[in-house]
Amino acid sequence: MNDKTLSKICLTITLTGMLFLALTYKPEFEETTVSNLIQKENSKGIIFGKIESIIKTGQTTIFILNDSNKVLIYYPKTIEIEENDFVKVYAENNSKEITEEKYSSKKKELMLFAYKVIKE
């Protein structure tokens, strides 16, 4: 195998990868609302709203977000946020699992899972 063959292999890998990326990639999170997210299980989206209240438990944060509809959000990390802060949340509606496994003793309530919370 010479350097020209190696270059051709590299070029083939590059073009194949780019084509594959272009064909398979779709944005994971798009802007949406709380009502849209809670209606469809396993849906993901970026929601923007005001924090109504916060519960911090060790390394996790649970808060109520209001964007004209209220929803409980579970974030598996700590974050410096306060009530009335405006935040952008990258969330997923897989809350059924979270509610049942982690908070089985509490009242079962729809809870979104947050991948990222950004203070605006």
Partner: protein, 387 residues
């Protein structure tokens, strides 16, 4: 859009690879402070890391300036440079890295499952592997006198490693860059007419596959770098072919990043600065590993192509006879880079490291023993922190 981020990362990775001392970890620090995150920034960082893993061998081969991941390549690469085979050396590291990324993409699901199930056992055996490496350094020498010299070098290098904990670049520049170049000043100038074609034996793919094991070790065991893994693997290997070694080092370097990403997703633990920055910027979703894999394979193609083209360009600079002036210029360049990136402390560390590097050359023992400056602090970290 994601393709643009991938290409941008590849572009910056190419440049970063050509600047000795500029590691992706340095860029990751800047990245961590930006508000960007998600798939786009993942594409950018992974692309940068993989592309850099290909091009960072160019300064190591042509000017003898080591990077954090390439200093083990300098002695074999310098040998090939003197034989007019610098371009072949780059093609070998490229083949190794490319093989590692392709095979790594196929092995990722297995690797992911393996580390999820055996992470504790792997961490537990790390100090044993490190102690074995130190013993092998000593056992590798034939006479009692040389064994004693090796013990002295291990102690000296370990002291430097502990004293100058954050000065990896100056230390490796001293041991492997400046020491060798300084010593070569007393040699007669050599005709370095470089060959612009390279013929690669497909059998080196097997050595690249061995390198993947090294990359996997680096990605799992905290504190062990690509060079340490290469040194450890090399101690256990009977064949010391320069070509095979370079291919293996290329494979370790690329697969390190490849598997670090899988390790981060599987264990939620970062094994290097880049992954630490990325950890905060990434969504741990089901398709994250899949997307990352495609991006890294694509970037490997770009990095390989770029390394071949840039190496050919670099040869033009070396068409004339390499003289002592070139060596002196290289030394000055390395001093400037260390001063720029690491300041006075770095320059001090470099002076000590150069002295030790020269001592190993004059004593006729393996310069890779100086790797004890990385191995011993990591060993202490395991013994006193993790156990």
């Amino acid at each position: 859009m994601i393709l643009l981020w991938c290409l941008l990362g590849a572009g910056i990775g190419l440049i970063a690879g050509l600047i000795p001392g500029l590691h992706s970890n340095n860029i990751a620090v800047i990245l961590a402070a930006t508000p960007f995150f998600g798939k786009e920034i993942t594409a950018f960082m992974l692309s940068l890391c993989i592309t850099q893993a290909f091009t960072e061998f160019i300064p190591a081969v042509f000017i003898g300036a080591p990077g954090e991941n390439t200093f083990e390549s300098i002695l074999p690469a310098h040998r090939m440079l003197m034989q007019g085979k610098a371009f072949e050396a780059i093609c070998l590291t490229t083949t190794g890295a490319l093989t590692a990324v392709i095979a790594g993409s196929l092995l990722t699901p297995l690797f992911f499952m393996f580390i999820e199930q055996n992470s504790q056992q792997i961490i537990a055996i790390t100090p044993i592997v490190l102690i074995a490496a130190l013993i092998m350094f000593i056992a590798g020498e034939q006479t009692i006198k040389k064994k004693l010299v090796v013990i002295f070098v291990i102690i000296a290098a370990a002291s430097q490693g502990i004293l100058f904990k954050e000065q990896v670049f100056p230390l490796i520049t001293g041991y492997f860059g400046i020491a060798g170049t300084l010593y070569s000043l007393k040699e007669k100038p050599f005709n370095a007419k470089q060959n612009t074609n390279a013929e690669i034996n497909p059998k080196i793919i097997l050595d690249s596959l061995i390198g993947i094991t090294g990359g996997a070790i680096v990605s799992i065991m905290p504190g062990i770098g690509s060079n340490t893994a290469a040194g450890i693997i090399n101690l256990f290997r009977k064949t010391k072919s320069t070509e095979k070694y370079l291919a293996m080092l290329g494979a370790i370097n690329a697969s390190n990043f490849f598997f670090s990403y899988a390790t981060m997703l599987a264990l939620d633990k970062a094994r290097n600065g880049t992954m630490l920055a990325l950890q905060e910027k990434i969504f741990h979703t089901t398709d994250t590993l899949f997307l990352g894999t495609i991006i890294m394979v694509t970037s490997a193609g770009i990095g390989g192509l770029a390394a071949i083209i840039l190496a050919k360009k670099a040869i033009i600079l070396f068409e004339e006879k390499v003289t002592q002036k070139m060596s002196i210029a290289t030394i000055i360049l390395m001093i400037i880079l260390v001063g720029f990136f690491n300041g006075i402390t770095g320059l001090t560390a470099m002076v000590f490291a150069t002295s030790l590097g020269l001592f190993t050359i004059i004593s006729g023992i393996r310069r890779s023993t100086c790797m004890s400056s990385l191995i011993v602090p990591v060993l202490f970290f395991y013994v006193f922190t993790l156990i």
